[in-house]
């Protein structure tokens, strides 16, 4: 079990309301990602759930029980920190076994569980090493091992991959997703990287200034952003947002077109290529379109356009419409 329910959860640091009041339900077994820009309150929200911060008001239920005032260890949750937070003076075996030792588990059973977790995470050969003798990826796996060995109701991940290099990040991302598939335990994952959010989540919670902007499945958020903030935040490269006469043609204050929904060739918009990036599989063009501003275009394959070339563009997909308040029409 691992259902977590937040009711009117508020957190203030002195005069500052970091989280003005949040209602959220996380179902058992879900992989939920909290995403948002720096300072949006996503890590604070995770720490409130973990019990590492006290709520100013509101209720946190874990598996139907009020856990608002429970200490971290009594909530049945395990957390993986950004800095791994391993105990540097203990071996990998002792690091992974530490929660079991604290729970007063029989040493033989402790060993069995540590060995099992190490096997799942490919750490069996490193059990007698110290964290300082491991690579970044291995350290992160030890941190995950320390979390899974407790068989918690839910896992909390606080930007766990941000200290890893790009290649390792992709690998670890897959490993965490596979772990979720095999354990089927609730996971709450905090990141500012929307690619991580899109690829891993069952449900994404987009946060901005302590408010939830939208909750939904990755493609739901991608295809049906509720407002301009979500439209601009989800998707890489960002959605092109156009105001003025062009938007008025679609009876909207602002329209949004994703870079992959614009084709190069014939079309109503003419512009000059500023920057062109060729990745082989895709080409990204920054085009200064007269009257509309700079637009990003993602064209499949190779597009032979260089800096200064004049090209024509056409919308070729969904056009998102927003009203004066920035809400989707």
């Amino acid at each position: 079990m691992g259902k977590i329910q937040l009711t009117k959860v508020r957190k203030s640091f002195g005069e500052v309301d970091v989280i003005p009041g949040i209602d959220l339900t996380i179902e058992n077994g879900e992989f939920v990602v909290f995403v948002g820009p720096s300072g949006c309150g996503k890590s604070t929200l995770l720490r409130l759930i973990a019990g590492l911060e006290d709520t100013t008001s509101g209720v946190i239920d874990i598996d139907g029980k009020d856990a608002t005032n429970l200490p971290p260890a009594k909530r049945g949750l395990a957390m993986v920190f950004q800095s791994y937070a391993l105990y540097p003076h203990m071996t990998v075996r002792k690091n992974i076994g530490f929660p079991l030792k604290m729970a007063g588990m029989d040493p033989a059973e402790q060993d069995k569980r540590v060995e099992r977790a190490a096997k799942v995470l490919n750490l069996s050969n490193y059990l007698d090493r110290r964290p300082g003798q491991l690579s970044g990826g291995q350290r992160q796996r030890v941190a995950i091992g320390r979390a899974i060995v407790r068989e918690p109701a839910a896992f909390l991940f606080d930007e766990p991959l941000s200290n890893l290099d790009a290649a390792l990040r992709v690998g670890m991302r897959q490993e965490i997703s596979e772990l979720h598939q095999s354990l089927k335990t609730t996971m709450i994952y905090v990141t500012h990287d929307q690619v991580e959010a899109m690829t891993m989540a069952d449900k994404i919670v987009v946060l901005n200034a302590g408010h939830i902007e939208q909750v939904g499945a990755p493609l739901e958020l991608y295809n049906f952003p509720r407002n301009l903030f979500v439209a601009g935040f989800i998707g890489s490269p960002k959605m092109n947002l156009i105001e003025g006469a062009e938007a008025a043609k679609h009876n909207a204050h602002t329209i949004g077109i994703r870079p992959e929904h614009i084709t190069v060739g014939d079309g109503p918009w003419e512009g000059v290529v500023g920057l062109s990036e060729h990745l082989g599989s895709d080409s990204f063009l920054k085009v200064a379109v007269e009257g509309l501003g700079t637009m990003t275009v993602r064209a499949p394959g190779e597009v032979h356009a260089r800096h200064g070339d004049r090209i024509r563009l056409a919308p070729a997909g969904k056009i998102h419409r927003f009203d004066t308040n920035g809400l989707a029409i």
Binding site: A73, A85, Y87, M102
Partner: protein
């Protein structure tokens, strides 16, 4: 990039360092030399350096006239005891100040340190009377408590500095892992701060070993440590410099040896946190 020292600069720095070191060490050297002189040579004017009559007589006489092992044992009990008791109180205190600081934590730290700036003689009478009423005069436990209190601000300050260097996330991780407050301090904080705790311990043993004011004021015979043993040689019969020097040399030798072997740890501990 490290700045390369020119040979001339290196020479000047080396000479300056040795000069300062010799000036600091000279009184100790003079004391050791005097301890091997006869009483007549010790007070000769002009001072005799190489022409003195060398003798071991001062040491044999000091040894035979006093119960050195008892003073030594008292010094060990008082310095180690006061340090261990101090650590027992200072570790939780420094933990609280480093990891759950309040608005007044900095003020509290400064206040604690300010007590070290107060002349000891200012609290001599009240403390003496208090000890007298509690029956702690001339007891080892009394001196352990007194010296622990004298050095507690330094122990807390040093530990606070070390603890500040430990990432808070590691302690939070231990809380998530089910560690109680004591579990967190015993299994995580203390082992991680062990180098710092060791150097704090060494420095405080040295400070307590060398403490003379309180040991002389609060003891007579039974609990007197080596600092009182030295004082006992500036006796009513007059000053016997050679014997006094021999007694001093015997008193400082153990702590000098400890300091020599632990100097690396001490320097590392004292400069910990100064540069990252």
């Amino acid at each position: 990039m490290a700045r390369a020292l020119s040979p001339r600069r290196l020479l000047i720095t080396t000479v300056a360092a040795w000069t300062v070191a010799l000036i600091i060490f000279f009184p100790v050297l003079w004391m050791i030399l005097t301890s091997f002189k006869t009483e007549a040579s010790a007070v000769a004017m002009p001072p005799e350096f190489l022409s003195a009559d060398w003798t071991l007589e001062n040491y044999t006489e000091v040894w035979s006239r006093s119960d050195y092992p008892r003073f030594f044992w008292n010094s060990v009990v008082i310095s180690v005891g006061s340090t261990l008791l101090g650590l027992l109180i200072a570790i939780p205190a420094a933990w609280a100040m480093a990891f759950v600081p309040g608005k007044k934590t900095k003020d509290l730290l400064m206040w604690m340190l300010s007590t070290k700036m107060m002349p000891a003689v200012a609290v001599m009478i009240p403390l003496y009377l208090l000890f007298q009423q509690l029956g702690l005069i001339d007891t080892k436990i009394g001196l352990v408590i007194a010296l622990m209190l004298m050095n507690l601000p330094i122990i807390i300050w040093m530990l606070y500095t070390y603890f500040k260097e430990i990432p808070g996330e590691i302690l939070e991780a231990s809380r998530m892992d089910g560690a109680t407050l004591w579990g967190e301090i015993i299994y995580v904080l203390t082992p991680m701060a062990l180098p710092g705790i060791a150097s704090t311990m060494l420095l405080n043993i040295i400070l307590a070993w060398n403490e003379a004011f309180w040991t002389i004021v609060l003891t007579t015979t039974k609990a007197a440590p080596l600092s009182a043993f030295i004082a006992s040689f500036s006796a009513p019969q007059g000053l016997f410099y050679a014997k006094l020097s021999a007694a001093s040399a015997m008193a400082i030798l153990p702590i000098l040896i400890l300091g020599w072997f632990s100097q690396k740890q001490l320097v590392r501990g004292l400069t910990f946190g100064a540069v990252k």
